[in-house]
């Protein structure tokens, strides 16, 4: 890998959050499941749809529920020629602010109509899905109101909606940056190369481009020993979502010989109950080297006497 090639890696953050709706939003979603659209009335008599839990004008609780729609007026719109994967409709459509009949506020939804028929002020009607689950997408979309409504397919569910899942997925491309990329090129040669601060002369490993203590750029590259000392550690015995290693495993602070910052890594090839502070260890490399510190599979004990606590005290 040349110095001019940027080192990047994909990174995906994905989780299905579990939302509780509270009473107001829960009732709105329950009504959608049952094929009705409801708004809420404020103390001043305004009808808000979609409902909110609290009157935005006064901060007070909202009052009773009012059925609105299913006809609505388009207040404004924008045309989507090429729908994206997560759009509610997979043919060209309009995102529109639609104000349901009987409501004083508008909501964002999809309108399916020929582009040439789209107009501000046009009348549309909600089209419900046959299978409804208690979601805003139980309204499949709005269409031009012809005065005729489709028969609603009844829904057998009766339990009120109180929660829903909100899946999220974020895809990143993480750039290592110059300092880490340089370090990881060393890893591909089975080298651990730290960087020394010109001011305090301390060595950072993994390297830092600048010294957080002195605020100056680190300049000197320092190839490090691959032996070190466990300054402190924990044995991870708890399983958890997304865990990569099988518990129990020892996560340790390893201070490489001559270094000044401990490296957080795994201690392996040893019964976790035998791991101790002051234990001498060495890096064990993976057969297949990748530009990641995980190419050091773990640190394993070596046959050297433990380092006394007094000598590592300043590093934990």
């Amino acid at each position: 890998m040349g110095a001019d090639v940027e080192l990047v890696s994909p990174f995906v953050l994905e989780y299905a959050y579990k939302r509780s709706t509270g009473p107001v939003i829960g009732r709105f979603l329950t009504s959608l499941r049952d094929g009705r659209i409801e708004g809420v009335r404020t103390a001043a008599g305004r009808v808000l749809c979609p409902p909110v839990e609290y009157d935005p004008d006064t901060g007070e609780d909202v009052q009773d529920f009012v059925e609105v729609g299913p006809c609505a007026t388009v207040l404004t719109w924008t045309w989507i020629d090429a729908p994206l994967r997560d759009h509610p409709v997979q043919v060209p459509f309009a995102f529109a602010l639609v104000q349901l009949e009987g409501a004083d506020t508008s909501m964002l939804h999809a309108v399916c109509a020929p582009r040439e028929d789209m107009a501000t002020g046009m009348r549309v009607r909600a089209v419900f899905r046959d299978e409804r689950v208690g979601s805003i997408t139980d309204i499949a979309h709005f269409e031009i109101d012809t005065g005729v409504s489709k028969d609603l397919v009844p829904n057998e569910a009766t339990e009120p909606i109180t929660r829903f899942k909100a899946p999220t997925r974020l895809e990143y491309v993480v750039a290592a940056g110059a300092t880490t990329a340089e370090f990881l090129r060393g890893v591909l040669r089975r080298e651990l190369i730290g960087r020394r601060c010109p001011s305090c002369e301390k060595i950072y490993l993994p390297p830092r481009g600048s010294c957080p203590t002195c605020g100056v750029r680190t300049t000197e590259l320092v190839p490090m020993a691959q032996k070190g000392t466990v300054t402190t550690f924990s044995v991870i015995r708890i399983p958890f979502e997304g865990q990569v290693l099988e518990p129990p495993y020892a996560a340790a602070h390893v201070l490489l010989d001559g270094g000044d910052t401990p490296l957080l890594h795994i201690v392996g090839d040893v019964d976790v109950d035998l791991v101790r502070m002051g234990m001498r260890v060495e890096a064990v490399w993976a057969e297949q080297l990748e530009p990641t510190l995980a190419s050091v599979r773990y640190f394993r004990p070596i046959d050297e006497p433990d380092v006394p606590y007094a000598e590592i005290r300043g590093h934990v």
Partner: protein
Amino acid sequence: MNERCAVIGIGQTQYAAKRGDVSMPGLVREAAKRALEDAGLTWADIDAVVLGKAPDMFEGVVQPELFMAGALGAVGKSMIRVHTAGSVGGSTAVVASHLVSSGVHKRVLTVAYEKQSESNAMWALSQRFPFNPPVMAGAGGYFAPIIRAYMARTDAPDHIGLKVAVKDRQNAALNPLAHLQMPDITEEMVRASPMLWDPVRYLETCPSSDGACAMIFSSDGSEVDNPAWVLSTAMRSEPMLFPGRDEVNPRAGADCATSAYKDAGITPDQLDCAEIYVPFSWYEPMWLENLHLFESGWKAIDAGHTHLGGKLPINMSGGVLSSNPIGASGMIRFAEAARQVRGTADKHQVDGAKLAMGHAYGGGSQFFSMWIVGQERP
């Protein structure tokens, strides 16, 4: 600062593993309404709102302050969000108090929350980022080696962690809002609980909670008969990694405490009680030393000095070990300190408390926030 700042209203939700009956806005509103009731005020009396919570990944809602403006009566008012990881509840209160003490606003509402049941904090804190070995194992995995280093440094006996775990849950039994209610807990039960992040056992750790805490600050305190006066606030931070960093006794925490005592014009031995951020029982002895409260934290605990009725009661409410809505946990410490000097802490009240301290920390012991509150108008 030109003006004074008084705590005139405090509101907390019930803390629980899951508040499935309310939305996130509903949760913060519950705490805020209780604070308004406590202060005898309405939404219209509030000039600005300051919201705090821990990382957005905990619930997957970015910019929650916009999401919650309606629930907090903040439409048309100044509203900001503060974020300093686990210490955020404390720093949110500090920022909000400065809006009053600087003379910018007369009355400010501050709220902090977490709804941990909507996600999984272990997952959120254990992401395997590119280029790194798969070592992360949540907050416990991060702090357990530091706890081990404290034990080695001070020769603290193993039962200190058990004692704190028992003491805080016994205190929680006096606080009906506390999440964990284990009045019959014993050191043996704690010792027998599973080892999660050796040397930290299950019952030596905090729960995952839903909950919110709110306070109302005023510049003259005249709204109520028993305001708590903010005598000083302090915040400090330090980088997560630098050579020679002392994670057992972080400089930022020690400096934060020195500043808080100096600005309040007191010495730590004048405090009647303190609520400090202890998510793992061993952090009580560590912070007792870091905050200059006792020379040996573990010996003070062993002697019973931090129990209710002891020399310096710590975490009378049950602490983070008994209720942990992460973003709110720091503010609960601050609010519980204020309850003590207002004389409204009910069954966990320290008799005659006049001076109390609230403390929070966050990140990898990187962010610290504190305040000292008193009964006497400064």
